[in-house]
């Protein structure tokens, strides 16, 4: 589709993974070409990426662990599907040009419940765990508006693959829909062949390739006739040559299969190594320490809360009986007072006290008793009357206690204390809630970074690397055999040439063969020259764009791209710096490279980037956000971002300096058309689905 300007105009999902029914319409605006879709983790950003890729190419390359999770069809929808009924997942992608919708691609996956077996099995068609009782079928549809305005449509999978690859070659999809965190993988040797293949496909080179193939066939035909006409020895050599060529074809076929296998292994290696790079050991250690600190903090809060709660309980428990019995206690107090007034309560005088007064011969008032027998007798009588004065003591105790309780009866004071405690408890509850949230957040992050999972990913990566080594070793050995076979074939050809010179009959075929060989070689040269021009253009444009983006640009002598599209960053000393680039520089290099390929091949596809800032942090992240709006000014760009990546203030961890959020940086540019947010929505059936809302 070189030369075309296509814009993504609509994507719609129905029962696809977390989406029940969701549609995003994109505006075809030449000025405001940037759309933001934000959402926390597990809200469906990766599902959007995978959904588009699945719709176009029937694969979901952005999952970390294929086949271990939920199926393509929304789980709830599957659960609700009863016996002999079916449900389906559907994704549609619509591209438009200036005249309106131009291409619409739809892929559907149907599930029909044939029996009630709920045993879960992995179903490769459903791409996940699914009840064994389901039967899965798939359908697709491709529609295209033709030049005369009529519509062409096909629902044949093979045709659709052909048309979609013509529209957007799968090899070049990585320039259209990609994960920003995996951009550094562009520059690996194994991945560069894909780029080369994709560039060839959009550059019209398959036509040249077909011509080369045709001419090569003629060479073979003429060579065979040349040999047959050069005598029996030539015929025998030709037979040997043909047999060896068949073996060579087999070897080359095996080599191609291994190359494809290697590409698939590479995809997994990229995913696993990206996942591992996101979970560095030190980061997890830091998280664990933070979790321990927060747990200590929570314990302190809980202890303070328990103390406040105890204070509140004590206050209520001690005051409730008193306040219930307030009236009756006050009455008792009054009874004791009146009883004392009526002298029903004896004075608080003990017999021992009177004994002491009698032995001293002096009354408590100071009166001398020694000469007053009458008064002495009165005191002796008093002693007898107070023999039960214990009752006076207890009554007096009651008087004192009840008097002291008076202050407790002040309702306002108790209310005040209760209010104060309630406020303190509220404050501590808020602190506790905050602490719980922090712990929950760390635990969730740690879950994502589950050590077992990390080890598992590490093991998978090791397996992949072992498989890769085996495949590469096998390919290397096969390369030797291919080289050897080709040498032998060349030897046979040389023998045939020698013999044909001796036979007049074969000379005509020799001339024809030589001419066909010249044509083949000329076509190959043309193809190589075209590719070299494209590659040089990509190289110089990448260098130009990248140097304008990075501060290290002046130290970089040049950016080199070899025949296989392997990129190198050469400094003044002639040393390749690719491996020493920072995450930010690598991101900019990848974006520059993508921009260059798109410019040079004149393929103005829309671009969808997941986690564009995921690999960079601090000032580099802010710089990336400042650069993005100006990057590929005519290209429709959709960014899928996490809330923390997008809306949080950016901190420079070295200087602790605060920078504005990515959102603030991007919003200051007028290229943003709209912001969407992916949210979890609770349905009336009590489950939840992901929906998209305009921010």
């Amino acid at each position: 589709m070189a030369g075309q300007v296509l814009r993504l105009s609509k994507i719609s999902f129905e029962n696809y993974r977390p989406f029940k029914k969701m549609q995003i319409d994109f505006k075809n605006d030449k000025e405001k070409t940037m759309t933001i879709i934000s959402g926390n983790n597990s809200r469906g950003k990766t599902s959007i990426m995978n959904g588009i890729h699945w719709c176009l190419y029937n694969t979901e390359p952005f999952w970390l662990n294929e086949g271990e999770g939920k199926p393509i069809i929304n789980q709830q929808s599957l659960n609700e599907t009863t016996l002999n009924n079916s449900t389906f997942a559907s994704v549609s992608v619509e591209f438009s040009d200036d005249k309106g919708p131009r291409y619409e691609i739809t892929r559907k996956l149907y599930a029909r419940r044939l029996n009630d077996t709920t045993e879960k099995i992995f179903n490769s068609d459903a791409c996940g765990q699914i009840d064994a009782g389901f039967s899965i079928t798939q359908s697709c549809e491709y529609t295209e508006r033709k030049k005369d305005g009529s519509w062409f449509a096909t629902d044949d999978e093979k045709d659709m693959k052909l048309y979609v690859n013509k529209l957007l070659p799968e090899d070049l999809a990585q320039f259209v829909i990609f994960n920003g965190e995996m951009l550094d993988k562009f520059f690996r040797k194994e991945g560069s062949n894909n780029i080369k293949d994709g560039i060839e496909r959009v550059s019209g080179l398959p036509i040249t390739e077909n011509a080369i193939g045709h001419a090569a066939k003629l060479v073979k035909q003429y060579s065979s006739k040349e040999a047959k006409n050069s005598g029996p020895e030539g015929t025998i050599i030709e037979q040997k040559k043909v047999a060896l060529e068949q073996i060579l074809e087999q070897l080359e076929e095996e080599q191609r299969k291994d190359e494809t296998g290697l590409k698939e292994l590479q995809v997994f290696e990229d995913k696993y190594s990206t996942a591992l790079s996101k979970f560095p050991e030190q980061y997890i250690k830091g998280l664990r320490e933070q979790l321990d600190r927060e747990k200590d903090n929570k314990k302190t809060i809980e202890s303070a809360r328990e103390s406040l709660r105890t204070q509140r309980s004590d206050l209520i428990i001690s005051n409730l009986p008193k306040m219930i019995l307030k009236d009756v206690l006050l009455e008792t107090k009054e009874i004791l007072r009146e009883s004392e007034l009526r002298k029903e309560t004896p004075p608080v005088i003990t017999p021992e006290f009177i004994d002491e007064r009698l032995s001293e011969g002096r009354c408590m008032c100071g009166y001398d008793l020694s000469h007053d027998s009458e008064a002495t007798q009165k005191l002796i009588d008093l002693k007898n009357s107070v023999k039960n004065s214990e009752i006076a003591n207890i009554a007096n105790e009651g008087k004192v206690v009840l008097a002291s309780m008076k202050e407790y009866f002040e309702s306002s004071k108790i209310k005040e204390l209760l209010t104060d405690l309630a406020e303190q408890l509220n404050t501590i509850d808020e602190k506790q809630t905050q602490s719980d949230k922090t712990i929950q957040s760390i635990v969730e992050t740690l879950k994502e970074h589950n050590e077992e999972e990390i080890k598992e990913i590490g093991r998978k990566l090791d397996d992949i690397l072992i498989k890769k080594r085996k495949v590469i070793s096998s390919m290397d050995k096969r390369d030797v055999r291919i080289e050897s076979a080709m040498d032998t074939i060349r030897g046979y050809q040389s023998d045939i040439d020698r013999l044909s010179k001796l036979s007049k009959a074969s000379q005509m075929w020799t001339q024809k063969r030589e001419f066909a060989e010249k044509v083949t070689n000329t076509l190959r040269d043309i193809r190589e020259q075209v590719l070299a021009v494209i590659r040089k253009d990509v190289e110089s444009r990448t260098e130009e764009l990248w140097k304008s983006l990075i501060s290290r640009g002046k130290q970089v002598e040049k950016v080199e791209i070899d025949d296989n599209y392997k990129i190198r960053v050469i400094d003044k000393e002639g040393i390749d710096n690719l491996r020493t680039l920072s995450a930010g520089q690598t991101l900019y290099l990848a974006l520059s490279f993508i921009a260059a390929v798109r410019e040079v091949t004149d393929t103005n596809y829309p671009m969808i980037i997941d986690s564009p800032f995921g690999k960079v942090d601090g000032p580099a992240r802010v710089l990336a956000a400042q650069i993005l709006p100006g990057y590929l000014p005519d290209t429709q760009i959709t960014l899928l971002v996490t809330d923390s990546e997008y809306a949080a203030e950016v901190t420079d961890h070295e200087t602790n300096e605060k920078h504005p959020s990515i959102r603030n940086v991007l919003m200051s540019d007028s290229r943003i058309w709209k912001e969407f947010t992916l949210k979890l929505h609770d349905t009336s059936e009590g489950s939840s689905e992901t929906i998209v809302k305009e921010a």
Partner: protein, 147 residues
């Protein structure tokens, strides 16, 4: 009332050694002191007894004990608590200081009110199972404070 009492030569206000709850209420006494969310967690049984007694008095829930536990040491009652029991007795028997001659009768009446009130206290505790049970008790206290 006259000070002299014909029944006793020497007055001594002393409760019997143990107060009782009805054994059928053992579980709630146990739960209230042992369940961490309880307002009476790790507190003496006397606190439950007095609160139950006050609630029993308030809502006129008085119930004779069927099987005495004889397990709450009376020495643990505070002076205030002792006077709450005395006050209820005075009120309900319409007596004055003469009531002080009858410590065990005072205790018996307190036990019967506590025996009635414990059911109401249990209701307050169980109703608050989904939130802090102390909230119901606070509501009860607020009623008294507002009244």
């Amino acid at each position: 009332m006259s000070l002299a009492s014909p029944q006793k030569e020497k007055f001594e206000f002393k409760f019997q050694k143990h107060a009782s709850y009805d054994k059928k209420h053992y579980q709630i006494y146990n739960d209230l002191t042992r369940v961490t969310g309880s307002p009476f967690y790790r507190k003496e049984y006397t606190k439950i007894f007095i609160t139950a007694m006050a609630l029993g008095y308030k809502y006129d829930m008085k119930e004779k004990l069927v099987e005495r536990s004889d397990s709450i040491p009376t020495a643990v009652f505070t002076t205030e608590e002792k006077w709450m029991m005395i006050s209820i007795y005075m009120k309900k028997t319409n007596t004055t200081v003469s009531a002080l001659w009858e410590p065990n009768e005072i205790l018996k009446m307190a036990e019967e009110y506590a025996n009635g009130g414990i059911q109401y206290l249990e209701m307050l505790y169980r109703q608050g199972a989904n939130e802090d049970p102390i909230n119901n008790m606070e509501d009860e206290l607020m009623k008294c404070l507002s009244g």
